[in-house]
Structures are given as structure tokens and as C-alpha cells.
Symmetry: C2
Subunit: 110 residues, 2 copies
């Protein structure tokens, strides 16, 4: 990938942010994806991905106010940029088109 494509996990992180908007931060994203994918996702995997996505211009972030919960650093909320939304939608469209053109026989041979 040359920086303008979304990796597999990166795309899932972006979508989770869309689902959780406007309360998407490390832990909530991790929980959302753990539930949906059934994989054991670590917080650091999510954070590494968030950092890279922000660098690529797909995300912006903003620190939240301190909560009434027990502790913790301030949450860093993530938002999808216009560029990020465009990229995400293009990936979706391309796959939809491919699926539409798939020869169904290809799935019946085993």
C-alpha cells in the first residue's frame, strides 16, 4: 500500500469509528471490534492503527473532557475526515462491483 489505501484492519477501525460516532476512542473501538469480529483485539493494535490512519489524513482527533469515571487519561476521540470518508466509500464500491461480477460457479466447485 502506498499510503492511500486502507489495510484490512484499518478499514474495520474506520467503520467502527463511524458506528461509534461521536464517542469513538481507543477502548470503545477495541470493544466494538472485539464483539463484531470475534477476534481478540488488543488496545495497542487499535492505537497503532489509529495513529497511522491519522497520519494518512483519514482521521482527526480531539481530546475529550475528563469523565466522572474512576480514572484514566483523557479520552482521545477520533473523527473521519472528508478524505477518509471518500476513501472508505470507494473501497466499498469497488468490492460491491466485484461481487456483482463474480461468476457464481466459482463458489460451487468444492
Amino acid at each position: 500500500m502506498k499510503g492511500t489505501n486502507l489495510g484490512e484492519f484499518e478499514e474495520l477501525v474506520m467503520l467502527a469509528i463511524g458506528v461509534l460516532h461521536p464517542k469513538a476512542y481507543g477502548v470503545s473501538i477495541k470493544d466494538e471490534l472485539t464483539e463484531r469480529t470475534g477476534r481478540q483485539i488488543t488496545l495497542s493494535a487499535v492505537h497503532a492503527s489509529l495513529h497511522r490512519l491519522a497520519e494518512k489524513g483519514f482521521l482527526e482527533s480531539q481530546f475529550g473532557e475528563s469523565s466522572n469515571k474512576r480514572g484514566g487519561k483523557r479520552k482521545k476521540y477520533f473523527f473521519i475526515t472528508a478524505f477518509g470518508a471518500k476513501t472508505l466509500e470507494e473501497a466499498k464500491l469497488m468490492r460491491e462491483q466485484l461481487w456483482k461480477d463474480v461468476n457464481k460457479v466459482a463458489f460451487q466447485n468444492n
Copy 2:
């Protein structure tokens, strides 16, 4: 990835094989994806991906007969296994569900 997930490019290669079935081999896959993605895809990228997908059990291959064209080694045709089809469909379903639950406002902030 722990071996049971499809990478971003790997998924595109699988779908291209579905589209091209039963004539999917290195060059035809490369051409199909170059056209659809607009990226400059190299043959070696496709082959590396095919090799990994076959190792993971998502693809099978079979050498074709020699053609009447000028030259070249025999084409190695690739086919999607039942396991590959299942994996591909699961990835599709998970994304569809995420998209369904996306808060549309997340795409209107920029």
C-alpha cells in the same frame, strides 16, 4: 493477521478470481485488478498473494494446457476452495453489518 483473515489485497485477488473463473491466473488477475482499482499492480504482488492464499487453504491451483500463443510457461489457474468462499463471504457480511450500523453523521462533519 493470524492466518485466517484476508488481507486487503488478498481479498481483491480472491474476488478477481471469482470474476475470472475459470480462467484466473497471474496475468489475467493482474489485468483485472489494474483496471478496476486504478492502481499500478505488479505481477509479483499478485503472485506473492496467490502463494499465500493457497498456503492458507483459500485457493487451489491447476496447470493449464499449453496455448497456441507465442511462448510462456503453462498458466497456473487458481480456484476458490469452499473454505475460501466461506471466509470471503464472512468478511463481506461483517462489513455490510458495520455499514448498516454506521452513524451517517460521521460522514458529514467536514
